[in-house]
Subunit: 385 residues, 2 copies
């Protein structure tokens, strides 16, 4: 079995499973906000986890706010900034390749609170053109409340120029939120050096427990309550903490930090895989090929074939991939991200996404080469649609 | 060790731990929204869990919306109803004994959206007087958008007349949200029979995984997005599902359903404990004594003693209790709930909360009797403050 849908969700890391097995044998379960010693021990565990995570992601511990995952973080950040923005600042700048958690939240403010959404331009590899952001900010200098542009695209893996974007936002004094769901725990990242104002992380994308995650906020006072409650998370996020999830976030990010040299091996094996596929089939196209990409992400198409048919062929070899983002995986048409990159339907409907992690390399990709060659050979002969 | 803080948080049930141990040995981890068979198997697991839970709580499966817990559910429900309420309906009716997750959310709408909060009256046992709700509704008949009154109080354990409340709300055509966090999985409950419009559940309160929970909504269309995303949970709650948490919610509620005859044993042992304490110390007072209460909750006070001192004494016997709600446990003064019941400071500051579960009975309470007698004897001699 090769599970190659890490951008969709990463299975719990071996280190996380081991941690949880031991954890389930312990008796340390309570409400971390209780005054008794069990509660206090859990609080210490949460704060220790916060410090470990802060070290890995390059921020101060008190800039981290634990929650249920990136979608919550995204709604929380966008609501915090837009609900408090002056009535003269009704413009949000974003990209056309954001995850639906971002675009749906922004759309809500467009439909219900009179916000206008403006989009930056992409280059041919699906990478945001910073000059187009600068132009938009210059033209609307005092009316923009937020720039929301992701750090790494979930479908193509294309890394976005977030440091340059952050420095442009700083120049114009506009808050910059970057959806870092696909970057944190998957690639080099340092929050303070990035210049971002807000970032997010989902536990299930990095091999921690489902239902866990966090926000990083450069200036926590800009964060308002989205889930109300008591003093948990400095009053920014009510509700009893998902302490088991929090502990596994620290385990997972420590594991990443210890093993991130694996990213180089992964990248080399991925590039080798892509070039083997291209030399075997002249029709094959790697989307966003020339962009700097996440080490283990390939969006590969064979125009005229049907992505779902390719996916099913691979599944018959026990290889699990998707045709686009998991959450819109059941729509048999070209994804919004590819449409915004002006990719033709014939290619767009043929793609599959292969996404692996820093623990993978040559072994997985050579099995993938063989299986994908078989699939393409079979399907191109029978003209699947 | 006796962990007697189940109202604060319930440790994962033995059945849940066993389930998770096996689950961690499996390879079934993926994004439930992915089209591949692993994703589809997880979706089936989520839907099977939803059906099991619906059966136990007495509702239809499509009335259940999974989320991160009761605090999220409460903010989600209150925001859904109040954000959409007509400008002529700016009154919310609630009780003075709500959990801070409810009162803080309502306060937000008071401070930021011009809502007025009106409070029902309590009887001497901390139970809402339904007549006072009827009076408030009659006086403000067309201006009330929501009634938010809990089902069981977390501190005193007092059950509230939620069926009567629901029928009054129905008569006046006002939505009724009841915070059922302390009732579901802890006492008899049937959502459809209750007449409520909205209810909530937190996994960690019932021995399921932390960071899990759900909303029950009689008419799901009344629920709007609070966390934006794709089509998860019928578009009502974005974000990759915390499927491990969801599976454990089904395990925990099945366990409750199988063993709820234990509630009778628990209640008898609790009443026996209370009467033993009262006969040993004439000063001892059981708060909300005459109210129908959760089977395993006792809020007990010895006027003049200091609740924290009692709590620490018990802890030296490896018995873990709190002095009030966990989330405000570190405030050494009379809780808001007790203040609203007009309980004198001397008594209010002396209380400890003992809360056990349906798996407990005589054995735990006899150890508690002994330890609490020792604590009261010791502390009443030295006049702890």
């Amino acid at each position: 079995v090769i599970y190659a849908d890490y951008n969709g969700s990463a299975p719990p890391l071996p280190a996380v499973r081991e941690y949880l097995r031991k954890r389930l044998d312990s008796d340390l379960f309570a409400n971390p906000n209780a005054i008794h010693s069990m509660g206090q021990r859990l609080t210490k565990g949460i704060e220790k986890s916060r410090s470990i995570i802060a070290e890995v992601v390059g921020c101060y511990p008190d800039q981290i706010f634990f929650n249920s995952g990136a979608s919550e973080g995204i709604s929380h950040i966008i609501s915090s900034v837009l609900n408090k923005s002056a009535s003269s600042k009704k413009i949000v700048i974003t990209s056309p390749i954001e995850h639906i958690a971002v675009s749906a939240a922004l759309n809500h403010f467009k439909m219900n609170h009179n916000f206008t959404i403006k989009y930056v331009e992409l280059d041919l590899n699906g990478v945001v053109r910073p000059q187009s952001l600068e132009k938009l900010l210059r033209e609307n200098s005092t009316s923009v409340s937020l720039v929301a542009i992701m750090a790494a695209n979930n479908e193509t893996g294309a890394l976005q120029p977030y440091v340059e974007i952050a420095s442009i936002c700083t120049k114009f004094g506009v808050d910059y939120f970057s959806d870092t769901t696909q970057l944190i725990g998957k690639g080099e990242f340092d929050f303070l050096k990035s210049g971002m104002d807000f970032a997010v992380c989902s536990g299930h994308k990095i091999g921690a427990l489902t239902g866990s995650g966090f926000i990083i906020a450069k200036e926590p006072t800009k964060l308002h309550s989205h889930i109300f409650g008591s003093t948990q998370e400095h009053g920014k996020r009510g509700g009893t903490q998902h302490y088991l999830g929090i502990e596994t976030l620290a385990v997972a990010l420590s594991d990443f930090n210890d093993k991130k040299t694996g990213l180089k091996t992964l990248q080399e094996a991925r590039l080798d895989f892509e070039s083997q596929m291209k030399s075997a089939f002249s029709e094959v196209i790697i989307i966003a090929e020339k962009a700097p990409r996440l080490a283990g992400t390939t969006l590969i198409g064979y125009p005229g074939l049907h992505g779902q048919a390719v996916q099913i062929e691979l599944e018959s070899h026990d290889i699990f991939v998707t045709t686009s983002a998991a959450c819109s995986d059941n729509q048999p048409e070209t994804s919004e991200v590819l449409k915004s990159m002006e990719i033709h339907e014939d290619l767009g409907r043929s793609v599959i996404r292969i996404s692996l992690s820093y623990s993978h390399g040559k072994a997985e990709y050579s099995l993938l080469v063989q299986a994908l060659k078989d699939a393409y050979n079979k399907l191109s002969k029978i003209h699947s649609y």
